[in-house]
């Protein structure tokens, strides 16, 4: 009662949770929400259902509120499309392949290729760095750390998920840039034969800095989601593995990881969704460039969201439409990523409920 340190509503910021309770009804008492059937067994004495009642009104109100979510999602798509289409028609370049963002000129010409590339590249860097570390921390919190340490540490990780992105961006630009620049110079000195680390500077405000800052931001989300998944591993499976003589790592590998795999995939995809949509941290850490380059350490890089924040102030009508069009692309990508992640979680829930 009362103390439950490791569940979702008090972890992260109340959302993003993996909960097993979806498919069930309210508590275990069925609610008499179906008044349409006539009462059985000759209940003639019961009052008849009024045609217009507070009950119907309240029910309609709450249904409308629930439907509001669908309305908003559709409205987002509709309004973004309505504002993006005029700009796309005015575009003289190819929206999908052009490496340029000049929608404010008299001959507007803009394309999303370089931006989308930067978005994907920075997110990939973030995930490659963050996921192994996040999974390690999740395992540490769920299976390695003593409870006295795990509870406060989990609390701190949850708090970090609430720190605003602008703070991470500011930190990345003012503090983290120095060590990343030194590291980039070192990499360039010894590994410039790898194209990723080539170039001749300047270094620092690179896609690597952006990706690492993103990694730090994604870390708490992936950690708290996968910790929850790991904690849900049935104790029986763990004990069975240990009883067969498995070491702790073998227990984790044979019982915990296979059980949590779909949940971990979903957590990673949710982290990916977060990384793709991150705006301000990247706007502060990347130095604007409109090209496709696999060089990680030279100044440059851009992303769809960061470009919206950076070029919104000087955008005219077409420029604004162009930014909205790029936002539409971002919306579509994140929608697909999130829906995939949620579908995985939902499928797993059914699978487990059926098995249990």
């Amino acid at each position: 009662m009362g103390d439950y340190p490791s569940r979702s509503v008090n972890s992260t910021a109340g959302d993003l949770s993996v909960t097993p309770r979806h498919a069930q009804g309210a508590g275990y008492g069925g609610s008499p929400s179906n008044f349409d059937e006539p009462p059985r067994g000759g209940g003639g004495a019961l009052p008849k259902k009024a045609r217009f009642s507070i009950e119907a009104g309240f029910r309609g109100l709450s249904t409308a509120s629930g439907a509001m979510v669908l309305v908003i999602i559709v409205a987002i798509a509709v309004f973004l499309i309505s504002k993006a289409v005029p700009a796309l028609q005015a575009n003289t370049g190819n929206f999908l392949t052009q490496f340029e963002w000049a929608p404010n000129d008299t001959q507007p010409s803009f394309g999303i290729a370089a931006l989308a590339f930067g978005t994907v590249l920075s997110s990939i860097i973030a995930l490659v760095v963050a996921v192994p570390i996040a999974l390690s921390i999740a395992l540490f919190l769920s299976h390695y750390a003593p409870k006295r340490l795990a509870t406060p540490l989990g609390f701190v990780i949850d708090l970090l998920a609430a720190v605003p992105s602008v703070v991470f961006g500011l930190w990345g630009r003012d503090v983290f840039q120095e060590p990343v620049r030194d590291f980039s110079i070192w990499l360039n000195k010894y590994f410039s034969w790898i194209p990723l680390f080539g170039g001749d500077g300047p270094f620092g405000q690179s896609i690597m800095l952006g990706g690492l800052v993103l990694a730090i931001m994604v870390l708490p989300i992936v950690t708290s989601l996968s910790r929850e998944v790991f904690q849900q591993t049935p104790g029986m499976n763990e004990e069975a593995a240990l009883a067969l003589g498995a070491t702790r790592w073998e227990m984790v590998r044979t019982a915990v990881l296979p059980y949590g795999k779909p949940g971990v995939i979903a957590a990673v995809m949710l982290g990916l969704g977060r990384a793709l949509g991150e705006t301000i941290a990247l706007a502060l850490t990347l130095s604007v460039a409109f090209d496709i380059s696999f060089n990680l350490i030279e100044n440059g890089g851009n992303s769809v969201a960061a470009n919206i924040a950076n070029s919104f102030a000087e955008a005219n009508d077409t420029g604004r439409g162009a930014l909205i069009a790029s936002g539409l692309v971002l919306f579509a990508i994140t929608l697909v990523v999130n829906m995939t992640a949620r579908a995985i979680i939902y499928r797993r829930r059914e699978f487990r409920d059926a098995a249990a």
Partner: protein, 361 residues
């Protein structure tokens, strides 16, 4: 001589051989010392880096050495267990370093401008050479925008959750629930663009002689879009925890369902619902991108959420960070410290409230 009587050497059970042998701590430490010594020798001998590389290489050497030595003494499986455990601990340390650095920088840099002036003045008439200036207007803006957003999203969110838990059955409810989950992942900048194209560019010209107008209210709308799914999800979780017999008791007494929900279910789940709302508020207060797109930012104090540009604390941080004045970074860090303090106070209060919640899972 039967088979039973024969003594097989090495199968005698003594305390020495029925336990598996473990790696002595001294050996462990010796490996660590050796690994770092070798790393230092390699790095400084070849002059390929500084102490950071020593630490990284030393850790790698230590892992390899530990694996080899422990493999000899304890066996391959135990050695692998040890290596994995070390890796997991190392990952934790690695993750805590940057996070500690964020906190330390926030406090050490933010303390500089943390004075009464900062909380009592705006940026109006503050030039690039003026060290003064403050975030009063930004704090006003944040409070108003988040307040209005809360007023809009809480009723919608709670009612939506009531629909999902109490009334929703069948395909439609499943769809709504799925899209609530999907909507939590919508990037904040997309919400900003939505309100930009819907409210600022289409609706606001009706009230402003055909000119689109930025406003704090538009920012509140965008924040409400972001808060709504969070509130629905957390409220839904809480409503599901209300025991069924409470509802059945009310029904048995002839109380209609809407009254049961309002006077039995909601009060029971209230602490949890408030926790969820506070977490949503904390997240909304930190959002920068939507405010940048639809409220525009301002240097002067603007109390009117419907009348023109308004500032917010997070946007203030972003704009000061991009400002060329040499005093701007100090203001940015102090504003960031204020923002983080606000968000963390809300979050911690929400979690403490959650602990007092009587509904446990």
């Amino acid at each position: 001589m039967s088979l039973l009587d024969r003594e097989v050497p090495g199968v005698v059970m003594t305390p020495d051989n029925i336990r598996s042998r473990t790696l002595p701590v001294a050996v462990n430490l010796a490996i660590a010392a050796g690994a770092f010594a070798v790393a230092a020798a390699v790095v400084f001998g070849l002059a390929i880096g500084n102490w950071v590389l020593v630490v990284v290489l030393g850790a790698a050497f230590y892992l390899v050495g530990l694996n080899v030595v422990a493999g000899r003494i304890e066996g391959r499986r135990a050695a692998r267990d040890r290596a994995m455990k070390s890796l997991i601990y190392a990952a934790c340390v690695l993750a805590i370093l940057p996070l500690a650095s964020v906190v330390w920088t926030l406090v050490s840099k933010g303390i500089g401008r943390l004075d009464a002036d900062f909380f009592n003045t705006s940026m109006n008439n503050i030039g690039a050479r003026d060290p003064e200036g403050g975030a009063y207007h930004a704090i006003i803006g944040t409070l108003e925008q988040v307040g209005i957003a809360t007023l809009m999203s809480v009723p919608l969110g709670v009612l939506g959750a009531i629909y999902l838990v109490e009334y929703g059955r069948g395909k439609f409810a499943t769809t709504v629930r799925f899209f609530v989950d999907v909507m939590t992942g919508i990037p904040s900048i997309v919400a900003g663009l939505f309100i930009l194209s819907f409210w600022v560019l289409i609706v606001s010209p009706w009230f402003n002689n055909g000119q689109p107008r930025f406003s704090g209210f538009a920012a509140a709308l965008a924040l409400a879009v972001l808060m709504l799914p969070t509130i629905v999800r957390s409220t839904e979780e809480m409503l599901r925890l209300v025991p069924g017999p409470l509802r059945e008791g009310a029904y048995a007494l002839g109380v209609p369902q809407w009254k049961t929900i309002l006077s039995v279910v909601l009060p029971t789940a209230l602490p949890g619902i408030v926790t969820g709302i506070m977490l949503a508020v904390a997240r909304a207060a930190g959002e920068t991108a939507p405010v940048l797109l639809v409220a525009g930012g301002a240097a002067a104090i603007n109390f009117d959420p419907f009348g023109g540009n308004q500032q917010s604390l997070s946007l203030f941080v972003y704009q000061q960070a991009g400002d060329a004045s040499r005093y701007a970074p100090d203001r940015a860090w102090t504003a960031a410290l204020t923002l983080v303090a606000l968000v963390l106070i809300l979050t911690v209060a929400a979690k403490l409230l959650a602990r007092r919640n009587k509904l446990s899972r």
